[in-house]
């Protein structure tokens, strides 16, 4: 493990994962800022954002650049999870199971009552899985509705305008809960919750403190210990 007095670290994210996470973060920030600016165009802060992006034309460029980047990240992610062995392992760990619902509920009960045993989470906690799949589906829906909205002229040749209008509502509604999950829930989890304050540094250094890793992913930690011992 480590020298005396210091806490060791465990690798959480590979360099490639961190790069993709950064690209995803940049893409989402571009999309959210330029998207909310349009959705809330009658608010002062939204107008200020639009001005900052160089007007509506500039906003469109920012939004579409972010969209292309997000699609690239998404495609890379889907391909990589099917090609690389390590990614496949992660992908398997992210598959939601009935036990996740039980573990999540048990964790909640344990926090509220202190009864029973604290659940031991694997590589991904139930909450992380839940967020991941909501965002995964969200990306699909945002991408599909976004393509329809990209060029009204082409879309209106292919679909009735009512479908275009529907996609507009889907796109903005979907964006708003994605915003809540990502920028509020996710940031709470990695910055505040579970002893991570001021932040979980894995997205920069790729590593987590051993004690926190153990506490947050005890199930995986135990099997890791076995793996190294045996």
């Amino acid at each position: 493990m480590t020298e005396k007095g210091t806490v060791g670290t465990v690798e959480r994210m590979t360099r490639a994962q961190r790069l993709v996470h950064l690209a995803l973060m940049v893409a989402v920030l571009m999309l959210v800022l330029s998207g909310l600016a349009l959705a809330y165009h009658d608010q002062g802060w939204a107008r200020a954002l639009i001005t900052l992006m160089g007007g509506l034309g500039g906003r469109n460029v920012v939004h579409r650049t972010g969209a292309v980047l997000l699609v690239l990240v998404f495609v890379y992610h889907v391909v990589a999870t099917n090609v690389s062995a390590r990614h496949q392992q992660n992908a398997l760990a992210s598959v939601p199971k009935c036990s996740d619902v039980k573990a999540g509920w048990a964790g909640f009960l344990w926090r509220m009552t202190g009864k029973g045993e604290a659940p031991k989470y694997g590589h991904y906690t139930p909450m992380q899985k839940f967020q991941y799949w909501l965002i995964f589906l969200g990306c699909l829906l945002m991408g599909l509705s976004g393509v329809v909205l990209w060029s009204p002229r082409v879309s209106l040749e292919l679909f009735p305008k009512s479908f275009f209008d529907l996609m507009l509502v889907v796109h903005s509604s979907e964006a708003q809960w994605a915003f809540i999950i990502l920028l509020v829930w996710h940031l709470w989890d990695v910055h505040v919750a579970s002893g991570n304050f001021p932040m979980n540094p894995a997205w920069i250094t790729g590593r987590m403190r051993e004690d926190l890793y153990r506490a947050q992913h005890e199930g995986e930690w135990e099997s890791m210990q076995k793996g190294t011992k045996e």
């Binding site: 964790g107 209106l156 305008k161 529907l166 708003q176 829930w185």
Partner: protein, 400 residues
């Protein structure tokens, strides 16, 4: 021939005829004072009026007593009665007597506007028939007084000076452009009211006497048809273009500038009560403002469609009318002005659809679903945090 011209020529003719007539016919009676008689007293720098006061005016050649007909004997009373213009200008005086100017003591008289002895011919720069002069002369009284419909005359005159009409008259010397009397009338004031439907039709016809093309296309509009039916809530020219403040579409603060059009149409079309009178929806402006067209326009993108881009301006018609630019049969062409490949998708589309059970129902359902979904997520998030805080307070290891 305008009333002015005929009056002036009648006057000139009268002056030629009357002057010798007065000189020859008078002695038979009590001997009316002649110009020479008047000159006996009205000579010298200290006199308020000199005998040759009419020299250089349109009335040059008339005798003093032609107008000051109350003076029969000399010397006359200190102050003779006000000169009577009616023997020659009967119609003008009759019209004036019926106007608000005559209704109040201290209101404008003939001399207030035309001058007294020095009434100038129409061609003269000092003539009241020059627009520049009207702004000055009407302004001498009206700039200081509150107007009959609120506000002060000063604002009217200031606004007019800055208007496209005022600019033409005052800065470009275009006397054909309208000044005060063109719209308000000269002797008959308030000929044009903007309150009742019949007079609103007259307003349109009045503006149309110069703006002929605008009038003929306005006459094809639903707005004009409503005015014809006596519906005073329908707009005439001034409701959209303004009155004293009138500007071209590029003018500063113009209500018909592309950026201002939604607000101008919205004065009526976003007014629930006003639209209820006509059985029209009042959400047309709101649905526009929320659309990409509306947002782009507000951001100053003048390529974006405003109300008039699709509905036309003067000849606006309801979509149900075959001649309307927004009739489904014409949508391909109308949308095609900006979207050259606009096809069936445009002509079959519904526009100004509010996301509501009555409007775009599918979109409304999706929105309601998401609102519920977001509420559940936020609730879950709050519980998630509260559970962690609660566990911390209880001293449980919460990192698990």
């Amino acid at each position: 021939m305008t009333p002015y011209r005929s009056a002036i020529s009648a006057l000139l003719a009268g002056a030629l005829l009357l002057a010798p007539a007065a000189a020859t016919a008078a002695p038979a009676k009590a001997k009316a004072p002649t110009a020479a008689d008047c000159a006996g007293c009205h000579e010298g720098a200290d006199k308020p009026v000199k005998a040759d006061a009419l020299k250089g005016s349109v009335h040059e050649g008339l005798s003093c007593v032609d107008c000051h007909s109350d003076i029969k004997d000399l010397p006359h009373a200190d102050k003779p009665a006000r000169a009577d213009c009616s023997p020659c200008h009967a119609q003008a005086v009759t019209d004036w007597k019926a106007s608000p100017h005559a209704a109040k003591a201290g209101g404008a008289t003939c001399a207030s506007c035309h001058g007294s002895h020095q009434v100038k011919p129409a061609s003269d720069a000092e003539s009241i028939r020059k627009g520049i002069r009207q702004v000055e002369v009407c302004g001498t009284c009206h700039a200081k007084r509150p107007g009959p419909h609120g506000g002060t005359g000063e604002a009217w005159i200031m606004n007019y000076r800055n208007s496209v009409h005022g600019d033409a008259v005052l800065n470009k010397g275009m006397n054909v452009a309208p000044s005060c009397a063109t719209c308000h009338g000269a002797h008959t004031l308030h000929a044009l009211s903007t309150k009742e439907a019949p007079s609103k039709v007259k307003v349109a016809e009045h503006c149309g006497s110069c703006h002929t093309q605008a009038l003929s296309s306005f006459k094809a509009s639903a707005h004009y048809a409503a005015l014809q039916k006596g519906l005073a809530g329908a707009p005439s020219c001034t409701d959209c273009h303004g009155e004293h403040t009138i500007q071209g579409p590029q003018g500063p603060g113009s209500p018909v500038a592309p950026l201002a059009v939604p607000q101008t149409c919205g004065k009526c079309h976003a007014d629930k009560a006003a639209m209820a009178n006509f059985g029209l929806p009042s959400d047309r402006v709101a649905t526009f403002t929320d659309s990409y067209h509306g947002i782009a326009l507000k951001e100053g993108d003048l390529r974006a469609a405003n109300c008039a881009s699709c509905h036309e301006n003067h000849d606006v018609l309801p979509a149900s009318d075959r001649a309307s630019s927004v009739n489904p049969a014409n949508l391909e062409k109308t949308c095609g002005k900006c979207h050259p490949k606009a096809g069936k998708g445009f002509s079959e589309a519904k526009f100004h659809q509010a996301v509501s059970p009555q409007g775009a129902r599918g979109a409304w359902f999706v929105r309601v679903f998401y609102i519920g979904f977001i509420a559940v997520l936020v609730l879950g998030f709050v519980l998630h945090i509260l559970a962690e805080m609660f566990a911390r307070a209880k001293g449980r290891k919460v990192v698990r």
